[in-house]
Every structure is written in structure tokens, then in C-alpha cells.
């Protein structure tokens, strides 16, 4: 060999550096935004000055998308501002969004991976006290990806996972208990949340897809 590299060059050529996966990056950004929204105002000043702050929605592509959606005339009027939610509903929707984001981490989305409802539905038997309706809605644009068990807001939930044009929809189902909020739609940290109850089961759909997409999903799922 004509020229020997020094140790640093030899190591940089031989050893890889790694990049955090996109889902880990997305999850971390979500955690950062939670901190920014919930805690920063109470914190002591940091050593370097904050740059001038712009309204949150302008920083947030998803929220901006919702604004555009509202301006386009759909979705307007159904998004309820967080201030109008009761605190318990607020806590529930926040936990649902947490569960949704957590599910997108590598290896967390599916316990049973199947597009076959005859595989997914029996999988829940014996693991939960409910038998959620499992239908593949691929013909309506919402292919069934699978399911998993989750724990949200004190409930063991059956989570059904559907796809929608590159988005993931988590449908959390648990037995309706006293004091459940009424049907409604919510926007939580840029995620859409849609809630409905029927047949003794309460259902929450969560996604980063537009609320109108979730409503189309609900209509397809319920019928």
C-alpha cells in the first residue's frame, strides 16, 4: 500500500455512522412539540435568547394543511378548538394521539399483521373482552393492515390499523363506559381524531390524514 491513512481516516472509512429512522425522527419531533406547547412557558429562561416566535400554525405543516383544508371549504366548522373540550376529553384525545404516534415507531404498529379479517378478528378473542368489527375496506380505499392491543386512558383497547394513501389510521375500540364523551371530531396537535359509539362499543379513529378522510373512513367502517 502506497500510503497508510491515519487512524481517524481509517476508522471513518471503515466504520459506519447511522441515521435515525424517519419514524424515530418524527416521533422525536412530536415529543419536542409537546414540550414546546405544554411546558416551555413555565420554564426558566434558557441561556440563549429565543428567536422571535411566529404563530404555531405557521410552523406546523400539518396544521397549515388543515387551515388550507378549511379555507377550501371542507372540514371547516367541525374542528373544535381545544379550549372547548372538557378536560377529561382533552386527556383522552391527547392519550389517543400519543398512542397513535407511539404505534408508528418501528415494530410497534402491528401485533397481528394481516389483510384478512378472518385472521385479525379471532386474534383479539381471548386478549380483550370485546369483539371489534373487523372489515377490510380496501375496496373503499382503506386497506386493513392488521391489529394490536393497546392501552389508552385506562382502557385495554383493540387497535385496528388501516392505511389511507400513505397515511396510517389507528382505530381504537373499547367497551363504552359511563361518562364517555359524545360523538365528535377533534384536532389534537395536528392530528385528526374522530369519535363515535354504537352497539356498546366506543370507537376512536386517529390519523394525520385530514378529518374529512376520517369521516369517510367512519362511514365506510360503520356501514
Amino acid at each position: 500500500m502506497s500510503e497508510r491513512p491515519d487512524l481517524g481516516r481509517a476508522m471513518r472509512e471503515a466504520l459506519p455512522v447511522f441515521e435515525a429512522s424517519p419514524s424515530l425522527q418524527a416521533w422525536a419531533r412530536e415529543e419536542a412539540r409537546k414540550l414546546d406547547q405544554e411546558s416551555l412557558p413555565q420554564r426558566e429562561p434558557l441561556t440563549r435568547p429565543l428567536r422571535s416566535r411566529v404563530p404555531r400554525f405557521a410552523q406546523w405543516p400539518i396544521a397549515a394543511g388543515l387551515v388550507i383544508a378549511a379555507a377550501a371549504g371542507w372540514g371547516a366548522g367541525v374542528l373544535r378548538p381545544g379550549a372547548n373540550l372538557t378536560s377529561s376529553t382533552n386527556a383522552t384525545t391527547s392519550q389517543l394521539v400519543d398512542a397513535h404516534v407511539r404505534s408508528l415507531l418501528p415494530g410497534h404498529l402491528l401485533d397481528v399483521e394481516s389483510t384478512d379479517r378472518h385472521t385479525v378478528k379471532p386474534w383479539f378473542a381471548g386478549k380483550t373482552d370485546i369483539a371489534p368489527v373487523v372489515v377490510d375496506l380496501a375496496d373503499k380505499g382503506f386497506p386493513l393492515l392488521g391489529g394490536r392491543l393497546d392501552y389508552v386512558d385506562g382502557h385495554t383497547a383493540a387497535a385496528l390499523v388501516y392505511g389511507r394513501r400513505g397515511h396510517t389510521i389507528n382505530l381504537f375500540v373499547w367497551r363504552t363506559a359511563a361518562g364517555e364523551p359524545g360523538d365528535g371530531s377533534f384536532s389534537v396537535r395536528g392530528y385528526s381524531v374522530l369519535h363515535w359509539s354504537n352497539g356498546g362499543l366506543t370507537s376512536w379513529a386517529v390519523s394525520d390524514a385530514a378529518l374529512s378522510e376520517l369521516e369517510a373512513f367512519r362511514d365506510a367502517y360503520v356501514h
Partner: protein, 192 residues
């Protein structure tokens, strides 16, 4: 997970978000991949490394207000390292906690090189990996932080939570061990 060459190292997380996003996102998240790389070298596998970084982010969020100085990278990697040591490594036998070199593709071989030159460089790269692999964990993390991630001695000391003198001693021992194995292909200057 994507492997990135060092030429791409400047492509870091969060750059596309612009400067106006929150403080934590701006200060800490650019070091996510550096933290993940350290976790990969400490835990030896992607699943544990991702779990460790996830836990580190949760802790970093919780303790963000304690970050006082400017070196967010060293601060965040200190947390990553603590998580790796407490949760993902102490229960493992020594020597099983390194990435298998088979899992790592050939790096940075210039396709314009003559085939025999390329083969020779691949062989050198494999020898370097194997040599780093057999280092004891404390020496390995020091040399990886210093030579692979280009940390200053002070930063290595901060991340590994030991005095600078200890860092220099560890680096010196690591270099001596590597020199024993690699002196014919790597220039160690005075050490060899």
C-alpha cells in the same frame, strides 16, 4: 435505518424544519442521529438502539431545563449513553455488544479504483472494524467518539462522565491496542 457516508454527515435531522420551530427541536434534535450512532455502537443492534434513543429523548425532554451551556450534543449523548449502560448493556456478557461487521456493508470504496486496490482497501476496512470490535467497551466508546464522531477531548469527557485525564488515558490505550493490530496498514505516528 440508512447508512450514510461521512460525506453526507452534514445532512442532519431537523434541518428542513427551519429555524422558527421550538427550542428543543432546534437545539437537541439535530443530534438525534449522533445519539443513534452512539447507541448502535453501545448496544450493537438497531432495536435496542432505537429504544435507547427513544428513552433518551423522553429523559431529555424532562430535563431540558437543566441544559445550561451550549453543548447540546454532548449533553444529549450523555443521556443516550446512560440509558444504554443502565438498560441495554449491563446485563449482557462482554464481547457480544458490538455490531456484527457482517451487518455492515463495504464503505466508501471508489468504483473508479483498480479492482486490486479496491479489494485491498476492503480488506483494510474489515481489519479496522475487527480491531475496534475487540476493544473493551470503555476504550471503544472513547475512540469512536473521538475519531469517528470527531468529539473534542472535553466532549468525550463530558459524554462519558470522567475527567479529561481518564479520557486521554483510555484513548492512548485504545490507540496502542489498535496499533498492535493495524500498524502495517494504518499510520499511528509515534504510537506504533
Amino acid at each position: 435505518m440508512r447508512l450514510v457516508s461521512h460525506a453526507d454527515k452534514s445532512v442532519e435531522v431537523g434541518r428542513a424544519e427551519g429555524p422558527q420551530v421550538g427550542q428543543f427541536e432546534r437545539v437537541v434534535l439535530p443530534h438525534l442521529s449522533a445519539g443513534f450512532t452512539l447507541a448502535m455502537y453501545l448496544t450493537g443492534n438497531k432495536a435496542d438502539a432505537e429504544d435507547a434513543v427513544q428513552e433518551a429523548i423522553l429523559r431529555a425532554v424532562r430535563y431540558f431545563s437543566t441544559l445550561r451551556d451550549d453543548d447540546a450534543r454532548a449533553w444529549f449523548l450523555t443521556i443516550v449513553r446512560r440509558v444504554c449502560f443502565t438498560a441495554y448493556r449491563t446485563d449482557r456478557p462482554q464481547g457480544t455488544d458490538m455490531i456484527s461487521i457482517d451487518a455492515v456493508g463495504p464503505q466508501l470504496v471508489d468504483s473508479r479504483e483498480q479492482p486490486d486496490m479496491a479489494a485491498e482497501r476492503l480488506q483494510v476496512q474489515q481489519r479496522v472494524r475487527a480491531a475496534v470490535d475487540q476493544l473493551p467497551p470503555l476504550l471503544r466508546e472513547a475512540i469512536v467518539l473521538r475519531e469517528l464522531q470527531s468529539f473534542s477531548y472535553a466532549e468525550v469527557a463530558a459524554v462519558t462522565e470522567v475527567p479529561i485525564g481518564t479520557v486521554m488515558s483510555r484513548l492512548s490505550r485504545a490507540r496502542a491496542r489498535l496499533a498492535d493490530l493495524l500498524h502495517d496498514v494504518v499510520d499511528f505516528g509515534d504510537v506504533a
